[in-house]
């Protein structure tokens, strides 16, 4: 039986939606009263004052009063504090100007974070075009609807609970100070201190999360979650029912993505391993090779295993058959849109334009992209005699996925190396999945996002050169490896512990994303098959699932060639 919206399920869905909305509206007021410490600032007028003024290396304009009398530099700090106080008393106008500077600094960073967030949002159009071009014509409408509905439903799931699970405690260990700190999000639902496992504030983005700083963060982070949500489409399309797909999206938006995201970006336990266990700078993933792409890729892998290959993908001899892309123009333009969007994905992850490392990040991201594509084109040429256009595109995405974690910590040359390795991984990964594992992945999502995401996370531990990220995850703010200002450092620059942390963390990501998805959806699939019927798959999913074709002018041809569909021509 497939997931359809029968009469009884319609009523059930309505009831659930009403209940959720009531909970959300009520929850806001209750939590508003409970928030004791920092106050939310929905108007944005109290975010950014002299307290947020810092110089280029992060030194604060306001000198705080030292409290720990046993600290070795207490006397010096005390003197600095007194000097600041004396100066401030003499120049009240300077303090007022500092308030404006602080507000402008936050405003600059808001603009950057929001605009790069909009770029990431536009990646959804790129994904839709890329995946649609790669599949057969008869399922094009269905695939576009999957892409569209993914945005809609995963967003709502993230709004309801996902954001709170991921960032509900971000202010404790990982306050995004560039955009005002989101200080009201300060409670772990599971765990505490440096061993947090699940955030616990900001459900329905109300109460403590009804705040300008928090909403700026939320906009940027929700489009990242959507990226993970889209990735799965490439591996499960052409056979999954719409209902089952929506369940997958709710699962990703509410649970799978936010939980791992909390561990790494929400100030959770993995990010704090540097402080707690002295393992490098803790687990470091700058913009999400593992948090976004790896999780999406291995979730896609689990779903693809559960669904099984498309009908006719493997012949009676077990050999894979080609189902050629139906629109190469979509594939290439989609890839370019993704590259463009990635200029938001990676440089935007500083959450601030006042962090001038954004220029290095942008160059590194582009270099890895072109290196990955070049490697894939050349490798394919030597293996099969012609470069494959779709693999050239996959190669570019592979480079992008792999550079996403290390982009801020490595040099341009390292970025080229990372891109080349990713370009090779994606080609071999596609062949390995198709020929050895016999997992049917129409768009190469598992190889691009899963395998290259894993590699990208490990690459931080290999290539990070220590020029950026001093004090990352609260480690080595004063000095690291005996050097002042030393940032995140990898294997070849002298920090072996960072390499092991990255390797362990990335491995955990694989086990987590594949394991949880496989566990949950094996059960779901037993209750109701997540796959369309054989007849529907052969004629194409567009009309049976949505009552219309992507290309209505092909209706006659479609019906005529439906019987040949299993040979991959329609």
């Amino acid at each position: 039986m497939r997931y359809g919206f029968g009469e009884s399920s319609k009523a059930w869905i309505l009831k659930a939606v009403v209940a959720l909305l009531l909970f959300g509206a009520g929850g806001g007021t209750v939590r508003g009263v409970l928030a004791q410490d920092a106050k939310p600032d929905p108007a944005g007028t109290a975010t950014g004052d002299k307290g947020t003024v810092v110089d280029a290396t992060g030194n604060s304009f306001v000198v705080p009063e030292p409290t720990d009398k046993t600290a070795p530099d207490f006397t010096a700090n005390k003197k600095a504090f007194e000097d600041y106080q004396a100066q401030a008393a003499k120049e009240p106008l300077a303090l007022k100007v500092a308030d404006d500077v602080g507000h402008l600094r936050i405003a600059t960073n808001f603009s950057w974070t929001l605009l790069t967030g909009y770029l990431v949002l536009f990646m959804q159009a790129g994904f839709a075009l890329l995946t649609c071009g790669l599949i057969r014509k008869k399922n094009a409408g269905h695939l576009m609807m999957l892409n569209f509905a993914a945005y809609v439903f995963a967003f709502l799931a993230y709004y309801a609970v996902g954001y709170a699970f991921q960032f509900g405690a971000v202010a404790i260990n990982a306050a995004p100070s560039n955009i005002g700190g989101a200080l009201t999000l300060n409670h772990f639902l599971v765990g505490s201190g440096q061993w947090g496992f699940l955030g616990g504030k900001g459900f329905f983005m109300t109460g403590p999360a009804y705040d300008a700083s928090s909403n700026c963060l939320a906009l940027f982070e929700v489009v990242f979650m959507e990226t993970a949500g889209y990735i799965i489409v490439g591996a499960i399309c052409e056979r999954i029912t719409f209902g089952a797909f929506l369940l997958c999206e709710l699962f990703i938006g509410a649970l799978l993505y936010p939980i791992f995201g909390c561990w790494v970006w929400g100030g959770g336990w993995m990010s704090q391993l540097g402080s707690t266990m002295h393992w490098g700078h803790g687990y470091v993933d700058f913009a999400g090779s593992s948090v976004v792409h790896g999780v999406g890729g291995f979730c896609a892998m689990a779903l693809s295993v559960i669904l099984g290959p498309r009908l006719g993908k493997y012949g009676p001899d077990g050999k894979p058959r080609a189902f050629p892309a139906h629109n190469i123009v979509f594939v290439v333009s989609g890839t370019f849109i993704l590259l463009f969007g990635w200029m938001g994905f990676n440089p935007g992850s500083t959450l601030g334009a006042t962090d001038l490392r954004i220029a290095v990040v942008a160059i590194n991201t582009n270099l890895a992209a072109v290196a990955g594509s070049a490697a894939a084109m050349l490798l394919w040429y030597f293996m099969f005699g012609k470069p494959d256009i779709t693999m050239a595109c996959n190669g570019m995405l592979a480079g992008l996925v792999a550079i996403t974690a290390p982009c801020a910590f490595v040099s341009p040359t390292s970025s080229v190396v990372i891109g080349v390795v990713a370009g090779v991984i994606v080609c071999l990964g596609v062949l390995f999945n198709e020929r050895k594992l016999k997992i049917d992945d129409p768009c190469g999502a598992i190889s691009v996002h899963g395998y290259c995401g894993f590699f990208g996370a490990v690459a931080v531990g290999i290539f990070a050169d220590g020029t950026y990220g001093a004090g990352w995850n609260g480690v080595g703010a004063a000095s690291y490896l005996g050097k002042a200002g030393q940032g995140v450092t990898g294997l070849i620059h002298g920090d072996v512990s960072q390499f092991w942390t990255q390797l362990g963390g990335a491995t955990l990501m694989v086990v987590y994303a594949f394991g949880l998805t496989f566990g949950v959806f094996s059960v779901v699939n037993k209750v109701r098959s997540m796959r369309v019927s054989k007849e529907v798959e052969l004629t194409g999913l567009d009309v049976p699932e949505f009552g219309m074709l992507a290309y209505p002018e092909d209706a006659v041809e479609m019906l005529a060639t439906g019987s040949q569909a299993h040979q991959g021509r329609a």
């Binding site: 894979p320 080609a322 012609k386 494959d388 779709t390 693999m391 062949l431 190469g444």
Partner: protein, 112 residues
């Protein structure tokens, strides 16, 4: 009256059409078709898997002419459509009983 059908390469359609209109052929119908002859298609690889393209795209021309034009038309098609490589196509000639122009109801050679 004769009906001349020709299966040709899509790339040669313009050449053939120019030669035919030069001869005074008044009408010409072209279909986009797919098919194979002795050549039996060819194989390509897509993302590492081989696939056979056994139905190749061709243009199917249908021309109705009076007896005196048959030889020049065949000559024109041969000249225009021939590249010398396998897959140039074929010409079929059949006799035609009647032609009727729908607008006027005319019959026979005058209706062509």
């Amino acid at each position: 009256m004769k009906r001349i059908d020709a299966v040709i390469r899509p790339s040669q359609l313009d050449e053939v059409k120019q030669r035919l209109t030069g001869l005074g052929v008044t009408g010409l119908t072209a279909f986009e078709v797919r098919g194979f002859g002795r050549q039996k298609g060819h194989t390509e690889t897509y993302r590492g898997s081989e696939y056979t393209v056994d139905f190749l795209p061709k243009i199917y021309l249908s021309i109705i002419v009076t007896e005196d034009l048959v030889d020049p038309v065949v000559e024109a098609i041969l000249e225009g459509a021939r590249t010398g490589v396998i897959g140039d196509g074929k010409i079929f000639i059949t006799s035609l009983d009647e032609v009727i122009r729908i607008r006027t109801g005319e019959r026979g050679a005058g209706a062509i």
